[in-house]
């Protein structure tokens, strides 16, 4: 079984988000970066479990600059066997998907994992793009994956329920909560990660169909209006007359 896990690097969930003074790009100063939680907790861990059960190779792939190698080494410490870094700024979903597909097309992976979204740009776009580039089935928001030889059974979270699916490998899937449990890398994993192969690959060019104009912070909340706990009729009145939500 050959498994690719696409990992993104994102600001920590508690990071204060700010932008350059011209608003053109994210300001990384003072920000702690982490592996995107969906990629780490669910996609990567499930990939490692499958390899542990049935053998094979787990390759972690990141599109990013050399500074991302800290995050990539963490993926190796958690259990990926080898890693690939596409040496480019991950400027858009279309660009990242193109890089992943370009690398994957010659490698014949049985499974290509991603997280269900990244917690920075929240697009949920890359998985479907990779699947289309490679002409493979795509299961998004998968909360379960079980393999029986070449046949995969999955559960996919949909609005108000769950779809149970069957599909033959190879396939692309995005992982959601339920797929696996978070693993903390142990000392042995961290030591081994240092000597695992990390290949750096040049990017392929893409004519970007979407350009980023810039970023703004949302308008600050006006501040909470406190209502006396004895005055719940007043709260209902405010929700009806002022907020107009009931």
């Amino acid at each position: 079984m050959k498994i690719l896990v696409c990992i993104s690097q994102t600001p920590d969930t508690t990071a204060k988000i700010s932008f350059t003074p011209d608003g053109a790009s994210f300001n990384p100063a003072g920000v702690q970066f982490i592996m995107n939680p969906y990629d780490e907790w669910y996609a990567l861990v499930r990939a490692c479990e499958i390899r542990e059960a049935g053998g094979g190779t787990v390759v972690a792939l990141n599109v990013g600059p050399a500074a991302n190698e800290v995050t990539i080494r963490k993926a190796l410490a958690i259990g990926a066997d080898e890693a690939v870094r596409i040496d480019a700024d991950p400027s858009s979903a279309a660009f990242v998907a193109k890089q992943v597909a370009e690398y994957a097309k010659a490698e014949n992976f049985d499974l290509i994992f991603l997280g269900k979204e990244t917690i920075d740009y929240n697009g949920s776009e890359v998985g479907a793009m990779v699947a289309e580039h490679l002409d493979l089935p795509y299961i998004s928001n998968a909360s379960q994956l079980h393999l029986n030889g070449n046949a995969a059974t999955l559960e996919r979270d949909i609005e108000g329920g769950v779809e149970v699916l069957e599909v033959a490998l190879p396939l692309v899937l995005s992982a959601a909560k339920g797929m696996a449990e978070q693993r903390i890398p142990n000392m042995r994993g961290i030591m081994m990660a240092r000597s695992k192969p990390l290949k750096v690959v040049p990017p392929v060019a893409l004519d970007e169909p979407v350009k980023t104009i810039g970023f703004t912070l949302p308008p600050a909340k006006a501040g909470v209006r406190l209502v006396d706990p004895e005055q719940m009729d007043e709260l209902v009145r405010l929700l009806h007359e002022e907020a107009k939500v009931i």
């Binding site: 988000i17 949909i158 329920g161 909340k221 209502v227 706990p229 709260l235 009931i246």
Partner: protein, 321 residues
């Protein structure tokens, strides 16, 4: 022309489809063109009603093979429809279905995609500029789609369905439907109220409830408001409540008109899933709870007193209106 994919999971049009058509009609208005809705599947009935929300034409690929969802098949059919009808802008919902196909369509049609938009775009020459919420609601990004074909996927509850027309006759559309590779074995639906991503009013509770046996007061308030119930992560992780109720960064991100948070402190990971709610009410006995900073209305008090009192006030209000 603006082409809207009006989704009909299980053969039913839901609010998401009406939101997408309403949005499509408004985008078409901005661009001085028409809005056409495309419907997939043989069992989607009542498609002509989409005309009410502004579709001047409704076309249906009424092939029974489309009654089960496979992103690969849907993307092939939708891109064929977009080419056939010469769509300049394609609109989908940012739902489980839309997320599975939007990226595929972008590749197939060599189109720029901005997913999860919550407002109308602005036309600038041949570009379309549009904003979306990023960093889990902590910032807003503006993008310019520069490709000839443009795709937008619309966040749920961002646009209110509006009646802007009359029902129309549904026109059949014949495009090739490839064989599915994914087979849907079953669909397990969660019984009860409106699914969380679609809910307009959500009543959510956290560890302040102390015990799962205490949830009756939350259920009562939700019933009085015709709301959907939700919970914080610690509550789902302790299995006090089912996982499908977990809202927040790792759970479901929601955008209701009204979010009532009961006994939830407001950790940043929780806020990331709910901070796009239009109005937030926080009930907590701790006046220092961080959630109050993100709230529009707050009640500092013991939830076991406050919540039943609020339920009573809501019932009185509903009876009078």
């Amino acid at each position: 022309m603006v082409l809207v994919y009006a989704e009909s999971p299980g053969g039913q049009f839901k609010k998401s489809a009406f939101e997408a058509v309403t949005y499509g009609k408004k985008v078409a208005g901005l661009l001085g063109t028409s809005c056409v809705a495309v419907v997939l599947g043989a069992n989607a009935s009542g498609a002509g009603e989409l005309g009410r929300y502004g579709a001047s034409r409704v076309v249906q690929v009424a092939d029974a093979a489309l009654d089960h969802f496979d992103s690969q098949v849907y993307a092939a059919v939708l891109s064929a429809a977009a080419r056939e009808l010469q769509a300049g802008v394609l609109i989908l919902n940012h739902t489980s279905g839309g997320k599975s196909i939007a990226g595929r369509l972008a590749v197939r049609l060599q189109a720029g995609l901005v997913s999860g938009v919550n407002g109308l775009p602005v036309a600038s020459g041949t570009e379309l500029r549009v904003k979306k919420s990023v960093f889990s609601g902590k910032a807003v990004a503006e993008y310019a789609i520069v490709s000839p074909v443009k795709i937008l996927s619309l966040t749920g509850n961002a646009v209110r369905p509006e009646a802007m027309g009359q029902p129309v006759a549904v026109e059949p559309l014949a495009v090739p439907v490839p064989a599915a590779r994914v087979s849907v074995k079953s669909v397990k639906t969660i019984e009860g109220r409106v699914p969380l991503p679609e809910a307009e009013v959500v009543v959510s509770a956290g560890r302040g409830m102390k015990d799962p046996a205490n949830w009756g007061i939350v259920e009562d308030l939700a019933a009085a408001l015709e709301a959907t119930t939700a919970c914080s992560r610690p509550v789902a992780d302790s299995e006090w409540r089912p996982h499908h109720e977990h809202v927040g960064q790792t759970g479901i991100a929601i955008r209701p008109n009204l979010y009532i948070a009961i006994g939830i402190s407001g950790a940043i990971q929780h806020l990331a899933g709910v901070n796009n709610s239009k109005v937030i009410v926080v009930i907590n006995k701790d006046p220092e709870a961080p959630f109050f900073k993100a709230a529009d209305y707050g009640v500092v008090g013991d939830l076991f007193d406050v919540v039943p009192r609020l339920t009573e006030a809501v019932r009185k209000f509903k009876a009078a209106h």
